[in-house]
């Protein structure tokens, strides 16, 4: 693997040590310039932090915290980097974990008590019981739960914990690579195929992790369905409940009744009401998926963000009856044709259709492969179309680079262009295209996992992620309906914890920034943001990023316009090394190179609705 890493490095513009030094000094210079000239006040905090960093004298600057390779674990690191940078993933995972802890603790409380339903509710609404529940939340993954956690759930929790740690490391500006041992351990315990120290398929791990989270979400949703009274808790925080249940008139009515007192008498009825509204609601959530109100407990974001639906439409050529079969998918396998003439056909003009042509297909079922038509009760010729009824918000394309041949699994190194923007090829958009109207949405490349090397076993994975979200937090944090200012959910408590940690850090370093100042981070640009950003959110070190970008060798070419807004930056995540590169460099990396074994393997495209 080391050989391969060297290989990759050599592809990059060469830097001699002296140049490096020069750049570093340039970086410092630029930083101060930058600070004097154009640092907006809101960035000051970062810069001060950064200043502290400088004194540490790190020679390997990294804009985000890094993961170290624990021996053949680049498959894990590459997927973790990807998930961390995948839009909305961290935020959604956070809420899932929060809900999980909430429901879990309430469930164990319920089980612990044998009191009647009415009394149960009364006691839970008691403030003291709430405090225990928040304690439970803090001891996530602890063994004091009455309900044993599934291995699947533990993996999901460990994943969140890791992101929390990475966030804290970023806050601390500590750029020592972290070893995701706990997560790996949990994964290996839950699924034996990841056992041993062998290189694994990053795709397999990705699918496994997503499936894990989905399953965790499903279990949660089941629990909520099973014990609808658990949700009553949320009601004790009026703010919260109104937010979640705002669209339910029936609920609002019963809620009012409850306010009037007479708790014991009404709670029974209340529960019945919640039962029925719950059923009704599940339907309305489905239909209103695009709205923000769907982030209720048990909201399965993996299904929402990563799951698409394929449509297999088969038409019998005899009776011309059409049968459709829909199947959900998490990723789209893209076959790679080994034919050379394909490369000529993939010129720039149709590059953004390349995956559509590979995935949206029509085949004829004939000869020995006829179709058993149910209408005709016999085998007939048929045409079969494969379309995508729905493409997910985050579309994962798996290039079928590993083919099984008689001599084992072989890697196909055939070049396939990786367009930065794709036209959407869901059924609706395909139809729109026929009518010459512009399609609804496009897909923007946000992450790429490259596979480097000649085979699955000996290869290495490097992740490229679109970096540099602006100073503003990602949009999903801003209009989060789940934001609970003082509620008993995890986000508040752990963000508080995070704040305390930071405060302590800052104090010891003499960089005292008022608690209020930091706390106000949840109100950036006057927008309220979900506190979870302070728990496990991504915190890119802008200065490092900008310095790195501006300090890249081509900067010496003074004539060229200075690059690159921060959102034009990609991060090359190669285990413990995370290096910012410009889009141009990234495109160069993706472009065709003869005999290269460094090939894109998993492509992540995020949906952009115009």
């Amino acid at each position: 693997m080391t050989i391969l890493e060297e290989d990759v490095i050599s592809l990059r513009p060469k830097q001699t040590p002296t140049e490096n030094k020069y750049i570093t000094s340039e970086q410092i210079k630029r930083k101060y310039l930058f600070k004097e000239d154009s640092v907006p006040p809101k960035r000051q905090a970062f810069d001060m932090l950064n200043g502290y960093r400088e004194r540490n004298g790190d020679n390997q600057d990294s804009p985000v915290s890094t993961l170290s390779n624990m021996g053949n674990t680049c498959f894990l690191n590459s997927v973790l980097y990807t998930l961390r940078f995948a839009p909305t993933f961290l935020h959604n995972l956070h809420h899932l974990i929060g809900d999980l802890a909430l429901v879990g603790s309430r469930l164990s409380q319920n089980k612990a008590k044998t009191s009647s339903l009415g009394r149960n509710i009364g006691s839970i609404t008691d403030p003291s019981s709430r405090s225990t529940s928040s304690k439970d939340l803090l001891s996530l993954g602890g063994s004091n739960d009455l309900i044993p956690k599934s291995k699947v759930q533990i993996v999901t929790e460990k994943l969140h914990e890791l992101f929390q740690i990475m966030h804290n490391l970023e806050m601390k500006e500590s750029m020592d690579p972290y070893q995701p041992v706990a997560l790996l351990q949990a994964i290996r315990e839950a699924n034996s195929i990841f056992e041993g120290n062998n290189q694994q398929d990053a795709h397999e791990l990705l699918v496994y992790l997503l499936d894990n989270i989905r399953e965790t979400g499903d279990v949660l949703a089941q629990q909520v369905q099973q014990y609808p009274e658990l949700l009553n808790e949320t009601e004790t925080t009026p703010m919260n409940s109104r937010k979640i249940w705002a669209r339910r008139p029936a609920w609002a009515k019963s809620y009012k009744k409850k306010d009037k007192g007479a708790k014991e008498a009404i709670s029974e009825e209340h529960i019945n009401g919640s039962n029925s509204t719950d059923i009704g609601d599940s339907g309305s959530v489905d239909s209103n998926n695009e709205t923000t109100g769907n982030r209720k407990i048990g909201y399965n974001f993996v299904a929402e963000d990563f799951e698409g639906i394929t449509l297999r439409r088969t038409k019998c050529l005899e009776c011309e009856c059409v049968t459709e079969r829909k199947e959900p998918f998490y990723d789209i396998p893209v076959p790679i044709s080994v034919k050379d003439d394909d490369r000529e056909s993939t010129n720039v003009s149709n590059e953004h259709d390349i995956f559509r042509r590979a995935c949206v297909t029509t085949e004829k079922l004939c000869d020995a492969n006829k179709y058993l038509c149910e209408t005709c009760s016999r085998y007939n010729e048929a045409s079969r179309e494969v379309l995508f009824e729905k493409l997910p918000k985050m579309m994962v394309l798996q290039l079928k680079r590993f083919t099984t041949t008689t001599s084992g699994v072989q890697k196909v190194n055939t070049y396939l262009p990786t367009p930065l923007v794709l036209r959407c090829f869901c059924e609706t958009c395909c139809k729109m295209e026929d009518t010459d109207r512009p399609p609804h949405h496009r897909y923007q490349l946000c992450c790429v996992i490259m596979h480097v090397g000649g085979s699955m076993a000996s290869g290495h994975y490097i992740t490229y992620v679109r970096g540099g979200n602006d100073a503003a937090p990602p949009r999903d944090y801003c209009d989060c309906p789940r934001d609970t200012p003082k509620g008993g959910s995890l986000s508040a408590s752990s963000s508080e914890k995070a704040l305390n940690v930071i405060n302590r850090l800052l104090k010891t370093r003499g960089v005292v920034e008022g608690r209020n100042g930091l706390g106000s981070k949840s109100v950036v640009h006057g927008m309220r943001t979900c506190k979870s950003i302070d728990c496990c959110g991504l915190r890119t070190n802008k200065t490092v990023l900008e310095n790195a970008i501006n300090g890249l060798p081509k900067k010496t070419d003074r004539d060229r316009p200075l690059p690159s807004r921060p959102d034009d930056v990609w991060l090359e995540c190669d285990d413990e090394t995370v290096k910012p590169i410009t889009t141009e460099e990234f495109v160069e990396e993706l472009s065709f190179k003869p005999n290269s074994t460094s090939t894109p393997y998993l492509l992540f495209y995020a949906k952009i609705t115009d």
């Binding site: 050529l317 004829k364 004939c366 000869d367 020995a368 009760s377």
Partner: protein, 640 residues
């Protein structure tokens, strides 16, 4: 019945034996009618059914059926002034018939896939056939009708060039031009005299399923699954008109003598007549009950016979000039009708793997007995699912045949692939056989049926020692075919004793049948592996010492009943095993053995369910154990 080449026995493909459960005379079409031909001289209508039978109606009365195909008959043409009929079928053959007497003269096995279309050049007595194998063959009818058993080779010229499956074909009477329609969505033209490829006409957006060429070969009409009808000028190779009168695929086309009007029918169930000089002028001839498959003119050309997915054929009056000038209105009723029967649309094999519950297109539910190859009960219009549930018995018998409803009749396939026809052993009593040599005699369903099917061929019915338990009616068609492929030979069960048939059968009957239907052949029983474990309540002193250590792994025939297992426990596992003769029957079972227990006191359980002593092991495994792993049974002693 000349020229039947039953195919080479050396071919690798496995041969299966099939039978069609049908009535002695199937007077009515069981399913859709794919093609129609009229003999004006005798006023005979020939209809090619999806039930594999070509039926002949004289003066609209059923005359006789022409049965020899084994799959859908897709097209027929009447030639030589009505003396001969050529038919094309999905059994991949083209057959030549004596139309007057209704027998098959020869079978052409040149095509490799379903033969979908025929075209006839009257002046040259030439027929072309085409199908899903993309090839078109030209046949000289005079040569075909002269074929005999000894002179059975025929040369054919083929028209090459089609890149996809051909669904329609047309030729003009002088045989100067031939047109094919295919999934290529284009028409291809050849000159049949030279077999030269001429050109290709593009314009349709989907499969082309209907074609007509004008007499002089200058114009052509094409009907496509894109819903349009196109009129082409073949001289200029151009599309002159595009007629869009149908709301769905066009499947059938006719043109009047002078190519002045087009009559079209299709998936939208409508027959529409369009004036080709003014295509906005069109009249709905009729609206059928099912998608239209074919039309043919009556002798006076004033009406059309229309066939559809429905088995009935109806005659509808065509509009005249008066109708086109809107001076008269179309009648909403057909001139006449030849009623069809109902096709079997659903079939479910009951648990006993002997009876089949069916439901036909008219909603009638019936029960068939596979072993006797006949319908045993008509239940009328009852709920199929309820009936299926009511007839459920907790008995498991392995599958031993496949069913096929493509012809609208029950076709039973016996083979040795995924479903081994010899896998079902049942006790003679359960099979309903009285006077069995011994009470526990086992019979094999597949063997019984094969014996019955080949009984006349083998001539065993005269032998009183090897008496038949069942026999099938003599009119039942017996079909030998390659698995999932071509038909090798079709013969009626009653005809198998004939000399020619006997000889042909000797060539075609596969070895696996011959070696297994002899009465004295060795029986290969299906085995079940299982464990026997004592329940914790069984006093250990009763058990032999070594039984304590590990469970007994046993192997038994799958039809062994729990009572037998209990006997085994009593004799071998409890006490010192000095019980009387092993394998004792019912008579012995109640006699107490030396440790004071009898069979009735042994209770067997599986998955905590108590097993009935008469239940057999395969039923336990299938319905109670519900797993493919080895069965585990627990036993305990109960006091009665």
């Amino acid at each position: 019945m000349a020229n039947l080449k039953p195919g080479n026995q050396n071919t690798r493909k496995k041969v299966q034996v099939s039978m069609v459960i049908c009535a002695a005379e199937e007077e009515r079409h069981r399913s859709g009618v794919n093609a129609l031909q009229l003999d004006p001289a005798l006023d005979r209508l020939y209809s090619a059914g999806r039930d594999s039978i070509i039926r002949v109606y004289e003066h609209e009365k059923f005359l006789h059926g022409m049965e020899h195909h084994t799959d859908w008959v897709n097209d027929v043409v009447l030639c030589c002034g009505g003396r001969h009929l050529i038919s094309a079928s999905s059994d991949t053959t083209v057959k030549v018939w004596n139309a007057h007497k209704g027998f098959c003269m020869s079978t052409l096995r040149t095509h490799k896939d379903y033969v979908k279309a025929l075209a006839y050049a009257k002046e040259r007595e030439q027929v072309a056939s085409a199908g899903l194998d993309k090839s078109i063959y030209l046949w000289d009818i005079n040569t075909l009708t002269a074929l005999t058993a000894s002179n059975n080779t025929v040369t054919t010229s083929s028209l090459m060039g089609s890149k996809e499956s051909i669904y329609s074909l047309a030729m003009n009477p002088s045989g100067s031009i031939i047109v094919s329609g295919s999934t290529e969505k284009a028409l291809r033209l050849w000159d049949p005299r030279t077999c030269a490829k001429l050109f290709k006409l593009k314009g349709h957006a989907d499969n082309v399923k209907a074609l007509v060429v004008s007499k002089d070969g200058t114009q052509c009409l094409s009907g496509s699954s894109d819903g349009s009808i196109k009129l082409w000028n073949l001289g200029s190779q151009r599309n002159i008109q595009t007629i869009r009168v149908h709301s769905d695929s066009v499947w059938a086309l006719l043109a009047t003598e002078n190519f002045s009007h087009a009559i079209s029918g299709g998936r939208d169930k409508k027959v529409i007549m369009t004036d080709l000089k003014n295509i906005s002028n069109s009249i709905i001839v009729c609206v059928e009950e099912a998608p239209i498959l074919k039309m043919c003119f009556t002798a006076d050309q004033q009406a059309v016979w229309v066939s559809s997915w429905d088995s009935s054929i109806r005659c509808w009056k065509l509009p005249t000039d008066k109708h086109f000038k809107e001076e008269a209105r179309m009648s909403a009723a057909p001139v006449s009708q030849i009623s069809g029967g109902a096709a079997i649309r659903r079939a479910s094999v009951l648990n006993d793997k002997r009876h089949i519950l069916t439901k036909d297109a008219q909603g009638n539910v019936a029960i068939y007995d596979v072993l006797r190859a006949r319908k045993v009960d008509d239940l009328g219009q009852v709920n199929f699912e309820d009936e299926e549930k009511n007839r459920f018995k907790m008995v498991y018998v392995p599958n031993w045949f496949n069913i096929d409803l493509k012809t609208g009749m029950l076709t039973i396939h016996l083979g040795q692939d995924e479903v081994d026809c010899f896998s079902a052993w049942v006790s003679a009593r359960d099979a309903g056989i009285r006077d069995t040599p011994e009470p526990d005699h086992k019979v094999n369903y597949g063997k019984l049926l094969l014996q019955a099917l080949f009984e006349h061929w083998r001539g065993v019915e005269t032998d009183p020692e090897n008496r038949m338990y069942f026999s099938v009616p003599k009119h039942i068609p017996l079909i030998l075919s390659e698995v999932g492929g071509r038909t090798l030979y079709r013969v009626l069960v009653g005809d198998t004793s004939g000399d020619t048939e006997n000889a042909l059968l000797n060539e075609t009957v596969p070895n696996w049948v011959i070696s297994n239907i002899e009465e004295n052949c060795t029986n290969k029983f299906i085995k079940v592996q299982f464990y026997l474990q004592p329940h914790s309540s069984v006093p250990s002193h009763l058990l032999k010492q070594d039984r304590m250590k590990k469970p007994d792994r046993l192997v038994a025939n799958d039809f062994i009943q729990c009572r037998k297992v209990a006997e085994h426990i009593l004799e071998k596992l409890l006490g010192d095993g000095t019980a009387s003769s092993p394998g004792c029957g019912d008579a012995d079972s109640s006699t107490p053995s030396n440790n004071g227990y009898n069979v009735d006191q042994i209770e067997l359980t599986c998955n905590e369910q108590v097993l009935d002593p008469s239940m057999d092991l395969r039923t336990v495994k299938h319905f109670i154990w519900k797993s493919s792993s080895d069965l585990t049974l627990f036993y305990k002693i109960i006091n009665k």
